[in-house]
């Protein structure tokens, strides 16, 4: 976000306040949209039911009711729990989510930070949530939680690699780690000399896109990769002992991260806030950019949640095999191919 908005000069504290506020919106809005749109509605329609219908038109205010419910619940801490770690764990997970939202630009001048290693930062901070999950699993003093936490750690570490490697292709093609630069590269790109729709990297990096989505699915511990929570085996894994507000924080963390990863995927592969046919430096994008981004995010999230509600879950060893024996070699091949093509063209 540049220091000038609508030609109003903002003081530093005002900027900081605005950033904090927008950061909050940036985390809560995707979470809310995804929970309502997919968890409440799409899932229900897939399962031949209506979902919440009473609170507000089409149950649109159900979200508030749910949040209110969680606020009312007692904050239970198991007697044998490591209280400090137990209390901290949801915050650590949320920190990861909040840091992740920073790097995603929503318009040519709409960004929280614009650094040259944006993608690198995003992938780095996304790993922080592992620590939070491990903390939760350990501190709960429950065997289910412990197994869940360990599974989560193993899984997230394993899928960190394909996630990073899938992004490499994009980075090579765009020639920059800067997220804004990646958007611009797609906006100004050309397909065999035709620049009508720019060059969204999904066309050239569809393998990377698929790997990225699979890895994101695993990072989010959603089915088919939800062994850490696996409610039919481990009750709910590392979440078992959490209740009330702390559970809500994990919940928001999960869905907000889903939204932000979707936005990241949309930014890297679908052109981000850019709409084909317009000048990417147009000030118009500062207004419609966020909407476009949210639209594309919902599109990507649809894929994620579609898989979530359809597939059964892997077993832990099958999941590791998928990561190490299939996804990582495939993404390495993808990088090599991208590199060669980059040199050729």
């Amino acid at each position: 976000m540049s220091s000038t908005i609508l030609a109003i000069e903002l003081a530093y504290w005002q900027q900081t306040g605005l950033r904090a506020l927008l950061g909050l919106v940036g985390v809560l809005l995707p979470a809310g949209i995804l929970v309502y749109l997919f968890l409440f509605k799409m899932m229900s329609f897939m399962q031949s039911r209506l979902g919440p219908m009473e609170a507000g038109p089409y149950g649109s205010l159900q979200l508030l009711a749910e949040v209110g419910k969680f606020f009312q619940k007692e904050d239970l801490i198991p007697a044998a729990a490591d209280r400090v770690v137990f209390k901290m764990a949801p915050f650590v997970v949320l920190i990861s989510t909040f840091l992740l939202v920073l790097v995603i630009p929503a318009g040519p001048d709409l960004w929280f930070i614009d650094i040259d290693t944006g993608i690198f930062l995003a992938l780095a901070v996304s790993s922080i949530s592992v620590i939070g999950i491990l903390m939760a699993g350990w501190a709960s003093a429950s065997k289910y939680s412990l197994i869940g936490g360990l599974r989560a750690a193993g899984q997230l570490v394993a899928y960190e690699l394909p996630l990073v490697l899938a992004v490499m292709g994009v980075v090579i093609q765009a020639g920059t780690l800067n997220v804004q630069g990646i958007v611009m590269a797609q906006a100004s790109g050309e397909i065999f000399g035709w620049g009508g729709i720019g060059n969204p990297f999904i066309l050239t990096q569809f393998v990377g896109f698929a790997i990225f989505l699979i890895a994101v699915q695993a990072e989010l511990t959603q089915p088919p990769f939800d062994m850490p929570v696996a409610e039919s085996e481990l009750v709910t894994g590392y979440l078992t002992e959490y209740s009330g507000l702390r559970f809500l924080m994990f919940f928001i963390g999960e869905f907000a991260t889903a939204g932000i990863f979707s936005a990241l995927a949309a930014t890297m592969f679908l052109g981000g806030w850019y709409v084909p046919g317009l000048d990417p430096t147009d000030n118009l994008f500062n207004v419609i950019g966020p909407l476009v981004l949210i639209g594309k995010m919902v599109l990507v999230a649809f894929l994620i949640f579609w898989f979530r509600f359809t597939y059964p879950r892997f077993r832990e060893d099958q999941l590791q095999q998928l990561a190490w024996k299939f996804l990582i070699p495939l993404s390495l091949v993808n990088i090599v191919a991208t590199g060669i093509l980059k040199v050729v063209f």
Binding site: E233, F309, P312, R313, R315, D317, Q318
Partner: protein, 390 residues
Amino acid sequence: MTDVSNRNQLAYIAAQASDARVNVEFETEGMTLNLGPQHPATHGTLRVIVKLDGERVLRADPMMGYMHRGYEKLAEVRTYPQVTTLVNRIDWLGSFANEVPFILAAERLMEVEAPPRAQWIRTILFELSRIANVILFLGDMGVQLGAVTPVFFAFRDREFVLNQIEAVTGGRFHPNFDRIGGLKDDIPKGWTEETTGVLGRIRTFCDEMEDLVTGNEIFQARTRGIGVIPAEVGLAYGLSGANIRGSGVDWDLRRDGGVGLAHDQVDWKVWTHPDGDSFSRYWVRLQEVREACGIIEQLLGGIPSGPVMAKVPRIIKVPAGEAYVETENPLGVMGYYVVSKGDLVPFRVKIRSASFSNISITPWVLEGAYVPDVVSILASLYFILGDIDR
């Protein structure tokens, strides 16, 4: 520099360290995980105590009795017609099927036979309760493996089957409709056409399952080769129903039992699968639902006319004797060993329920499995708690 207390501390630490070294050298102690009695995978109150090494099961000990209702004792103080009310609650998902073997045992002792029409309607209801029971399994199998959607389809379509059962019997879950010598009532008007429509829905449901679950690579990876039960082990443990047919044993009491149901009047096929793993048990059940649709459809086409009740005295006294009758219930072989002394009440009723024997193999089959496989195996063995605990 070091004073006494510090030296003591050092000695203590040294001892701890050497202990730790010893511990590193030896195997670590396994972890005991308590699956249940309140656990999502045990849909009911089964409790499985598993001893784990990492995620591998070293030993599994099922504990039950959380729902033991003592039906064998209660049946000793109830008249024969009253017993059906009890046995309805054994396998509560296919409850009409529970009544049938008991009634058949009493009929054998009394040497009465239900009129053909009653037998046909009995068979139709028997198969309808099989559908109502097994399609829930098909959905539940998905839930246990993490796919949340199929179970909603199962619940949706089961409702239509239950409606049909309710239309005849007046009870969705506990019909209590079978009588010694026949049935309480005839089927209502227009019921056969409606039921044919419902069967179409069930077939569609089976196709959906085939698309959504059976063909899914992850589902196959989670079930194929998991929990393999060889035929002879399954037989020695008393497995029955789809569990034993999933191990390749071609044995179905509907065809081989020779009891008074109308299954021998129609064309149908006993499905078996040679593998004996979780997938084959699932697959056999899926085929059996289809087959049950076929059986019902044929039966509906030719229900003989006549009364639905044979001539039996109003107060039923069963002559002295013993009879064991078993039928192929949704969960497997269900039998009643009825001992009568010529009274209004049975002297002893031994209830041989399918799930009890089916689940008794768990210590054998769970050994060496992984925790996620425990869920897959338990789900594929398919038990109803009421059928275990009785």
